[in-house]
């Protein structure tokens, strides 16, 4: 068949045009690109959790470049580079690696010095189950409700881990919601803390924590692992790695490993996790009514979690001796979101009394919240998985 040069060129250009983003774009793509850019704006200009929001925001841009399916570039096309990187999210092995790093970074001294603060971390997990009840009331199935409710744990890796098992189709929205609200903790928590506390309570000065021996710090991850994982083995990937990382840090003979786990490894996994989670939020999956519901429930979960932490401290104070009362401003820190929520406790405490430093006290419930949310995740997986 004879074909003129111009026909040949126009045919090829037509094929090329059909492959471009312009030919495949829909309005949903542009909405998602705008969402990605908004995240980048929040991260770069407003400094909201930039370590998370920059990879997620840019990931949203990567995941929402329009293209014709079958080009073997998409994150959901099997065997593509993005799909291989996404396997760490879908198969759930990035979150335990992040937990290894968190364990290697976290100093549990405040918690070991004052173990009753663990109960504050446990109380704040009511945010998860309160949100679960609200999600059921909104018509979500129990497994979906559990996956959404884990946002209340204020722990991104845990949210990804649980949602990848209970509701993989909602994982993108859940992860983005969890990280967004974690970035917004400084905005969400202070009004709740003010609402539920009196001025007198905010001025409570807590006794300085006792010194903790090296032996106690070494025993903590071992006993912590045994006790929590015997109760909820389903949380083993998260708690196992968390306590392992902490032992690397505290045992004193694996400094190099602890450094790698807390720096290089965490950074690598955070980059891959954030970017692929962002890229997984493709318009067709993300722009749905369900996503709006998830964002609403995530917001509810954070409010319930912060409130229950503060209210529990007030309740706890009723049974504590006068000289051992806790400042309710540390209750919000039980939601995890390390160390942001502990910093908020400290800042608010200083606002009312410039000599009342609550940071170290708030770190107790804060790290207990990490253990608590991982335990709650294990419970959800055991009941609904």
């Amino acid at each position: 068949m004879e074909q003129s040069l111009s026909e040949f060129m126009s045919g090829n250009l037509e094929t090329f045009w059909a492959m471009t983003g312009f030919a495949n774009a829909t309005w949903q793509h542009f909405v998602m690109l705008a969402v990605g850019m908004f995240f980048l704006y929040l991260a770069i200009k407003k400094n909201f959790e930039p370590m998370l929001l920059v990879p997620i925001g840019f990931g949203i841009l990567i995941g929402n470049i329009p293209f014709a399916s079958g080009m073997e570039v998409g994150i959901y096309e099997e065997g593509t580079v993005l799909n291989i990187l996404y396997n760490g999210v879908s198969a759930g092995w990035y979150p335990p690696l992040v937990f290894l790093g968190i364990g290697a970074m976290t100093d549990f001294t405040a918690l070991i010095a004052n173990p009753k603060l663990m109960l504050v971390g446990a109380a704040a997990q009511f945010g998860i189950f309160g949100a679960y009840m609200v999600a059921l009331a909104l018509g979500f199935a129990p497994d979906q409700a559990g996956a959404i409710a884990i946002i209340g744990g204020a722990d991104g890796p845990t949210a990804i881990f649980v949602s990848s098992k209970l509701a993989p189709n909602l994982m993108g929205a859940i992860a983005v919601s969890a990280y967004s609200y974690m970035a917004l903790v400084p905005v969400i928590q202070p009004p709740i803390m003010r609402l539920f506390t009196t001025k007198k309570e905010r001025l409570i000065k807590m006794k300085p924590a006792r010194a903790v021996s090296q032996n106690e710090k070494i025993i903590f991850p071992i006993v912590g692992l045994l006790l929590t994982c015997f109760v909820v083995p389903t949380a083993l990937p998260l708690l196992g790695m968390l306590f392992f990382g902490n032992l690397l840090r505290e045992c004193g003979v694996t400094t190099r490993l602890a450094k790698t786990a807390s720096n290089a490894l965490t950074d690598i996994v955070t980059i891959l996790l954030g970017m692929t989670v962002g890229a997984s939020t493709q318009a067709s999956e993300f722009l749905t009514l369900e996503t709006i519901g998830i964002f609403f429930l995530g917001f509810m979960a954070f409010i319930i979690a912060s409130s229950s932490g503060v209210l529990f401290v007030k309740l706890f104070n009723l049974v504590l001796p006068k000289d051992k009362k806790l400042n309710p401003l540390i209750g919000n820190a039980g939601v995890s979101a390390v160390p942001m929520s502990a910093r908020i406790s400290n800042n608010l405490g200083l606002e009312y009394d410039p000599s009342n430093y609550l940071l170290m006290h708030a770190m107790g419930p804060n790290v207990a919240g990490v253990i608590g949310s991982a335990t709650a995740a294990g419970v959800l997986l055991a009941f609904l998985g």
Partner: protein, 292 residues
């Protein structure tokens, strides 16, 4: 070879006989379109299992009657999945056609690669009718206990070659919560009790550990002062030094000794050269000595 056999032996403990049909007149057909008796094997583990080199037999005096051939990719059973062997006595038809036929009253064995370890066995009832099967009540459950098996006639009790004996079409856990706990209160109460319980135990445990640790450190402190801990009453025992006390002592020493008033420091700007790779450097390969 011995190591790999041992590894197989350990991993293959989850391999079991799951369902057996002796006389097949109208049930499932083989890959040649023919009706034969069949034996369904089940991988009850959560990992893929390679079953080549195990043995199937209906005669315990001849444990190696049918060795599952090597080199067939289909002999790897995925986790919690099944595979069917046709008991037609025609092994030349392929991997999944065994060299014997089965009859009611016979016992079927799976032997491991060591030709001695029985992985599973089942005795077929003598009165098993045509087109009925003898199957485990639940896939892979019950070990070698005959009571874990039942006769299935294809009516209410399905005959299920190459699929689960219990057909599950929903997540029963989720369904039960959907029906019995519509508001989520039950799950909330149970879950909060578990989370609280776990952290409460951890909390109590660390109170105990701190008490023990504190007692030991006090005793050590007294011994270092030449006092036998047993001779001192509780009231006279030295207390735990707080951080503030330690800071005050250090400050006093600093004032007394007038130490470090002027630091002898020289500021230099030198380019740090690292021509070697950390991977090949010996110092990076050495473990730090434990701190004492």
């Amino acid at each position: 070879m011995a190591i790999s056999t041992a590894a197989y032996a350990q991993g293959r403990k989850g391999l079991c006989i799951n369902e057996v049909m002796v006389q097949n007149d109208s049930s499932v057909v083989d890959d040649y379109g023919l009706h034969h008796g069949w034996i369904e094997l089940y991988n009850s583990t959560h990992a893929s299992m390679e079953i080549s080199s195990v043995y199937l037999t209906n005669d315990s005096t001849k444990p190696t009657l049918y060795p599952v051939p090597l080199g067939d990719v289909n002999t790897e059973i995925p986790p919690l999945q099944h595979v069917i062997f046709w008991a037609d006595g025609e092994p030349n038809k392929g991997t999944f056609h065994v060299s014997f036929k089965i009859k009611p009253g016979e016992t079927i064995y799976i032997y491991d690669a060591d030709q001695q370890t029985i992985l599973d066995k089942v005795t077929i009832p003598t009165d098993l009718k045509a087109n009925t099967t003898f199957a485990r009540k639940a896939d892979g459950k019950g070990g070698m206990n005959q009571n874990a098996w039942e006769v299935r006639d294809g009516g209410d009790k399905y005959i299920t070659p190459s699929s689960n004996n219990i057909i599950v079409d929903t997540n029963t856990k989720v369904e039960s919560f959907r029906i019995l706990d519509k508001s989520g209160v039950v799950l909330t109460v149970m879950a909060m009790a578990i989370v609280f319980g776990a952290l409460l135990v951890l909390c109590l445990c660390f109170y105990a550990i701190s008490k023990i640790g504190s007692a030991i450190s006090k005793a050590n402190k007294m011994r270092s002062q030449g006092v036998e801990p047993k001779m001192v009453s509780k009231e006279d025992a030295p207390g735990h030094d707080s951080g503030e006390e330690i800071a005050a002592i250090v400050m006093a020493l600093h004032e007394h000794l007038n130490a470090h008033d002027q630091e002898n420091t020289i500021l230099t700007i030198n380019k740090v050269k690292k021509a070697y790779s950390p991977w090949s450097s010996k110092i990076y390969g050495l473990r730090e000595l434990p701190r004492r």
